[in-house]
């Protein structure tokens, strides 16, 4: 989990695309409260159907991230002696010790650290429907930013299990080979950066069932495996290193360390979503998602979205999601009375891997300008029980052809 905004979630858009040919462009503006991260995201989407058997989707993205991310920093001015003591600490642990030593434990503070980056991405998916209308989808994607590269491929097959096509069964998988520019061990007064590999694979098995002419549901079981450098090189922790070997940790034996996570992550869960047309103008889409992994993270997400057609040209789309998460077993809240970690072992103070509840509210509107043009707008607010909050809005147009 990087500090940056995820750029493309191909499966989501590709899987939800409608049958009509269209091209759309949307801009999202994201802002965290407390003068933290600001992001602008621009997405150009295209869908083209060739006959009844082929569908091609493509997506181009460009986003910018700026602002500041909270991280531990030293507040005592550095001096020449700090280099040597930091090197001593590095020599006593296999974990990465970062530059920025403070001789007083209590002088470490969490402060916003400036960041700025841009990202470009592209992806495309092709779907083929055979004589039984079973679907075969394959896609590729690529993105690049200053300190992160990603390249991947995915495939999915969907089979109808009965001749009435009221039930389908799907299986899919994807792989990603990423690279991130990570900080290395402290040496010669600093931390050099090197490219580190990240491998991600995921798999999903799903089933859909039509219950009535107004109701159907999709059940999905998913799993994932990641390996490589999974730490967040933007984030730091506090580590206690007994550099004088006296068996106790003094106030001057606390160092900045690199966020450190296991180099593998196995995860999985289930996702259940229903689609119910209450009336000709009201559709509800409730959803529940469960997630768990071998880091100790477990979460439940429950909520849904609606589509309320007010007039022929105006549709509202309100939504709400509640989320609860049990954090990773190597997480320590930076606001805890003792936020420090031992000299070795996994360590993170990333609140996104901590315990919290969250609420997300959003209200969207789609205005039909003509038979081919639609304008879309969205406003959303998100809050967590740990004090974090953010909002985002989006505007865009869609042209059906």
């Amino acid at each position: 989990m990087n500090i940056k905004l995820p750029l493309t979630i191909l499966g989501l858009v590709a899987g939800s695309a409608s049958a009509a040919d269209h091209i759309s462009i949307h801009h999202m503006s994201f802002e965290e409260y407390g003068d933290k991260v600001k992001a602008g995201d621009n997405v150009l989407s295209l869908e083209k159907n060739i006959g009844l058997d082929w569908t091609i989707t493509a997506e181009l993205g460009y986003d910018t991230v700026s602002g500041a991310s909270p991280a531990w920093v030293a507040t005592t001015p550095s001096s020449g002696s700090h280099d040597q003591i930091t090197q001593d600490a590095q020599n006593m642990t296999s974990e990465v010790i970062r530059a920025g030593y403070d001789p007083h434990r209590g002088n470490y503070e969490i402060r916003p650290v400036e960041l700025e980056d841009t990202r470009y991405s592209a992806s495309t998916n092709v779907t083929y429907r055979d004589k039984d209308r079973d679907e075969w989808t394959a896609g590729v994607n690529y993105s690049q930013e200053e300190d992160y590269k990603s390249m991947g491929a995915n495939a999915k097959a969907l089979f109808y299990t009965d001749n009435t096509k009221n039930r389908s069964f799907s299986v899919g998988g994807s792989i990603l080979t990423d690279q991130t520019l990570a900080f290395q061990e402290y040496q010669n007064g600093g931390n050099a950066q090197e490219w580190q590999d990240i491998f991600t694979s995921s798999m999903e098995v799903g089933m859909s069932q039509v219950f009535t002419p107004n109701l159907y549901a999709i059940f999905t079981a998913y799993g994932g495996y990641k390996s490589g450098y999974l730490s967040n090189h933007y984030l730091t922790v506090l580590r206690e290193v007994d550099i004088d070997g006296d068996g106790s940790i003094g106030d001057d034996e606390v160092f900045l360390g690199q966020d450190s996570r296991p180099d593998t992550r196995i995860s999985g869960g289930v996702n259940l979503q229903a689609f119910y047309s209450v009336s000709d103008s009201v559709v509800v889409r409730p959803r529940y998602k469960f997630f768990t992994d071998d880091w100790g993270v477990t979460s439940h997400q429950l909520g849904g979205k609606m589509s309320v057609k007010v007039t022929d040209w105006l549709t509202f789309a309100p939504g709400y999601f509640w989320y609860t998460q049990q954090g990773a077993n190597f997480f320590i809240d930076p606001k805890a009375q003792d936020p420090t970690f031992a000299s070795t072992g996994y360590a993170t103070s990333d609140i996104r891997l901590g315990d919290f509840n969250a609420n997300a509210y959003e209200l969207g509107a789609s205005i039909k300008l003509s038979s081919k043009w639609r304008m879309n707008a969205l406003a959303a607010y998100y809050e967590q029980s740990n004090g974090y909050a953010s909002n985002w809005w989006a505007v865009g147009v869609t042209y059906d052809y």
Partner: protein, 216 residues
Amino acid sequence: MKHYSLLTLLSSVVFLASFSLQAEVVHMAESVSRVVYQGDKAVATVEPSVVPVTIKPFHNKPKVVITESVVKLEAKTKQVGTVQPLPLKITPRLGAGVDTAALPVAVPVLVPVLVPLSVTSPLMPTTIPVNPILNTRALAHQEESEELEEPSLFSAISDWFSVKPVKPWQKGTLAKKAMKPGGEVPEFDFFSEKVFAYKQGSIGGNGVGGGGCGCN
């Protein structure tokens, strides 16, 4: 005890018989719709005799075979926007669900067949006799035939929820964009999921697509 005149009783019987016949015709119309939908896979041959309807598979391009018709098929096609595979006159047969033995009067033989206009199907090669009689023997046990449809994977789900198969022509609502995973505007979900993935510790479950998300 109140006495009814013979005419009143006769009228009542005729009324009940008509009602039963109407129900039967509706039932047959439903069967007809079902056959129409299967037109891309089979040919329904309607014979004037008591021989059951036979289903003949064909490949790709069906052809219209009309030996004779009581109406001009072409004109009818323009009127309803679809080709109706059956003649417009139906003479109920014995054993077709109407207990004609109990009827003291003749049963009307001219009954319009109601074919849902929403049904669109390819042209069906239908042989239409001079005095067509719909053979309903093969269609009389529609419920049984539905139950005997090919067993499907996870068919127990239908049993658990007492799900009745939804016909293709009943899926207009399900096909609406608002009923798709992304809703009316998929980009709304797209942005929301990005924020959730960015600010929460859970990953996956939104499709197998990967993504250059750069979120480790």
